[in-house]
Amino acid sequence: MSEDRSWQGAWKVRLHERVRERGYASLTAFAEARPTASLVALAEELGKDDLNAVQVFSGLVAEAERSHQLTRLARGQLVRELFEGLPNGWPAVLDDTNRFEVAHALARWISYTPETHKERARQILVALLATPPPPGWRPLGPDDELLHALLPDEEV
């Protein structure tokens, strides 16, 4: 494993340069073109040794704040965490092991939810556990119908 250089130099400049080099006008556009990719996968594609997932998240939040798309970003991040954490979709039965995997994915999602939306995200966590989605549910993007119902756009 080569040495990580993600914190060296001006990583924000580097991040946006890589996005432009790949033909995207924004980091958001780059990420939306890969709706199920994890933050780690996005970071690796942009710079395996000199960018990291948390920097990508930070950049996405900054852009979403400017474009008033934080709710959409939160939905998109839930897609990424569920895709990675529950590869077989939402479990049909929440036994002890499954419940941890669900809890892990949802907890990660909340941690990668902007501060303004964290409480809403925690309410959704409770709602999903109380009224589980259909078995196998695996949203593929932020426009998933159930996701929209759980977290509708509210920004103008």
Binding site: W7, A103, H104, A107, R108, Y112
Partner: protein, 152 residues
Amino acid sequence: MWMSRSCVVWPLSLWRADSLHPRWTGLLLALALLTTGCASLAPPPGRRVNLNDMPRGADGATFVERPRVSEAPERLHHVELEMAKHQAIHGGGDWRLGRLWPGEWNQLIMGALRDAETAAGRMLTRNEILKVAARYMKDYNIPMNFVSGRGR
């Protein structure tokens, strides 16, 4: 306190899975890794780690209970982290931002552990806590090639 150019944070596996406080193993990883001030935990170079040293709170109380040396398991792991990287993961490259940065380590991992326990409806096991921590280490590009203390 001994200050070092690099941070050495340990321990990862001073507890046995069946010890009294296995869940604190991972929490200590999460906390000690980047929050408790790694300099205070770092042994001077070239000297052996005193397994009975452990972080203490402001009141001098030990941070958590753990076995003494004679009871400690065979392996001691540590993670080395450059000071610059340590600061970056708290401040995103701007140390002054501290917890205002959305990717701040403490906020992410501690919040996630709390929320995961709430969602799971029970305390997490040691391995589950380590699994959560390992994912965040990957997110931050923190290497997970832990070094056995015996090899030092």
